[in-house]
């Protein structure tokens, strides 16, 4: 058997090398915290990168021997979530700390991707400073908390005062009904050619922005009561199909695009529309009214890429009206992001230490301001330095009183996609409002495992 030894040895060696090459190094050094977050697809916007780099420096100084590794994921929203979920499935790729959108968090909790933080939170004094609604944002149906919110947001109408003057509209504009809003857009279209009168996010490419900034801002204004959700019936724990409010909201979207009050359909269905609105259309004075979130100024602050400090003089703010002006007369939706620890994280304890460093009062305040977020810590919210830091903060903070939260149950992401499809159908004109609503009803059944109710 002697001459056989060589091939035997060689093959064993080869197999061993090949196999070990794929098995080793999961990157879980006990002294390193790996942090995954969403990096803007706009190269000049580096708000989060800079903030995290700053906290990283503080953390490494305060904890000698410990290291922080930032793992940015540069992608549009929808692709960020997918990438993250794939990473969370395996201990080899799961980071120690992730940035989670609250609309998805329940879904990810159900999948067992995240770790309950209650043992940490119980021992953390600052947790008492967080407002209750924010604490609830990352609380799952099992009563445990899975994330620390880093701020919240509200939504409203941004309008260009220059365009309004040219169109002969008041610069202290406040529409009372949807018709007021559409009429203003029609006036702009007629009197100020060359600008987009009204932007409402729509369709699958815009992702959750279409559902939340666009559709839900309409749909929640069709409700008769102030607190009920027109998407989800809490009493029966079922999703609502075929409501009149749903069709009316679709009709609004259809009107915007049929009458060419919105951006060109091909632009509206470009995945980068949100980045373009903030970076180009608004600063260049090419957009009359924009239905959007409170965070827009983060791109316009000093050193954030599209510096535009004059925005507060150029742009006006108005509440989004309800459909027919019914009480409470204005609509806002709130969401936000949280910091969560994956269940497969290698260094959860160290990760929570990093959350604490991020959420000292000073750092939290710095972040709210840099991110144009709405404070969820009471000590910051009361701080005059925060309130005065930016025009608009008061307007959007006042909305918190009448804002709505999404029914962010596990099925929500798929319901949201179904909404986007319905919107896209009426935006392109491929389907009528009735067809789109009918298809939504069907889609809703598959998305929620038939947990639907007709109202």
């Amino acid at each position: 058997m002697r001459p056989n030894a060589a091939p035997l040895l060689l093959s064993t060696l080869l197999t061993a090398t090949a196999l070990s090459a794929c098995g080793s190094d999961s990157g879980s050094d006990p002294d390193t915290v790996e942090i995954s977050y969403k990096q803007s697809t706009d190269n000049s916007v580096r708000v989060m990168d800079e903030y995290l780099a700053d906290v990283k420096e503080q953390f490494e100084k305060a904890n000698p021997g410990k290291k922080v590794e930032l793992v940015p994921i540069k992608a549009p929203d929808a692709e960020y979530y997918t990438k993250l979920q794939q990473m969370l499935r395996s201990p080899k790729t799961a980071p120690d700390l992730v940035y989670e959108d609250t609309f998805l968090i329940n879904s990810d909790i159900t999948s067992g991707y995240l770790k309950p933080l209650d043992p940490y939170l119980d021992k953390w004094e600052d947790w008492g400073e967080f407002v209750d609604t924010a604490k609830a944002a990352a609380k799952a149906q099992d009563g445990k908390t899975y994330g620390v919110p880093d701020g919240t947001d509200t939504r409203g109408l941004w309008f260009d005062k220059g365009i309004f003057k040219k169109a002969g509209l008041p610069v202290d504009w406040q529409p009372r009904t949807w018709d007021d809003l559409l009429d203003a857009a029609r006036t702009i279209k007629e009197k100020v050619p060359g600008v987009t009168p009204l932007n409402v996010y729509t369709g699958k490419p815009a992702g959750e922005a279409a559902t939340m900034q666009g559709f839900e801002m309409l749909l929640y204004g069709t409700a008769t009561g102030a607190t009920e959700s027109p998407l989800y019936d809490t009493a029966s724990e079922k999703w609502i199909t075929g409501s009149q409010g749903f069709k009316d909201s679709l009709r609004f979207v259809e009107t915007v695009f049929k009458e060419k009050l919105g951006p060109d359909v091909s632009d509206a269905l470009d995945p980068n529309i949100a980045t373009r609105v903030r970076g180009e259309l608004l600063p260049e004075g090419k957009l009359g009214i924009n239905l959007d979130g409170s965070w827009l100024p983060q791109d316009w602050l000093k050193g954030s890429g599209h510096e535009w400090p004059e925005w507060s003089e150029k742009l006006g703010l108005a509440y989004m009206p309800t459909q027919g002006g019914q009480a409470p007369g204005k609509v806002s939706m709130s969401g936000g992001w949280t910091w969560s620890i994956p269940s497969k994280a290698a260094n959860p304890d160290l990760a929570f230490e990093f959350i604490k460093t991020m959420q000292t009062k000073a750092n939290a305040q710095k972040w709210y301001i840099a991110n144009s977020g709405i404070a969820v810590r009471t000590d910051v919210a009361e701080d005059p330095a925060y309130v005065k830091a930016q025009p608009g903060i008061k307007f959007f903070t006042d909305l918190v009183a009448s804002t709505h939260y999404r029914p962010a149950y596990p099925a929500y992401p798929r319901v949201s996609t179904a909404v986007q499809e319905a919107m896209e159908g009426v935006t392109t004109g491929d389907s009528s409002v009735e067809e789109a609503a009918r298809r939504y009803d069907e889609e809703l059944k598959t998305a929620t495992d038939n947990q639907v109710i007709r109202k």
Partner: protein, 310 residues
Amino acid sequence: MSVTQRKAGSGARGVKAGAGGTRPTLPRTLTRALPVAPALVLLALFLAGPIAYCAYLAFTDLQLTGQAESSFTGLDNFRTAFEDEAFLNAVWLTLVFTVLSSLVGQNTLGLALAALMQRASKPVRTLTGGIVVTAWVLPEVVAGFLLYAFFRREGTLNAVLDWFGLPSQNWLFTLPILAVSFANVWRGTAFSMLVYSAALNEIPKEITEAAEVDGAGGWRRMWHITLPMIRRSIGTNLMLNTLQTLSVFGLIWVMTRGGPGNRSQTLPLFMYEQAFQKSMIGYGTAVALLLLAVGSLFSLVYMRLLRTEV
């Protein structure tokens, strides 16, 4: 004894090696197979493994998010697919895309280019070949962006149309499936051209010359001499082209993302949307298996074509 055995063995060639003491023992066969083992193990692990796993997933309701445990659901995913308007739309668009860009576009244009280049002068041949091959060498995403820039509203095509005083439009929006088909033709023609150039060079000059002497014109020569002689290349080329076109993803993703609506959503894009955007991995892999079925269907047709020709 060994002599008689040898004699007996010489009749059937295969038995020859088995003579007397040289008959390989089992351990010996094993050691001989050993050097191949690493490759086999790797193939099983990284090729067969994922494929088998994928096939298994297609029969489950696995979701990327929003689900505590997945379960085996049998043929549910396939049933859903055939009842799903969007799936049927994707199948239809895939067929349109394949027939337009692969069969009609890449294949015919490739052959035409190859035939023309046969007659062209050397510099023309080198130049054309170079340009066409460049399109093929470009990475898919780069090609996608180039054609996106060509077709979009402010793009090159509209600039050219404007110059001629023709009305311009956003091609990616009005005719998305045509635009992406054209893109695939642009990118893939070089491959067909190379295959056909090689095949045409193989045709003996005497035959063509004989036909010419007999008075056959260009078209008749093409139809009666050239095409029959390169039939095998046509078959191979069609098969490769079709399979590649069926799986085109990056090009369409970059140009239209399957939109607007789902007017350019071919099967690979539909699959991606289901698996990764709607998080339904199980359903997505089921669609992937169906795509595989469509591919094999095409292959079968071409294989038959090949067999009858030779």
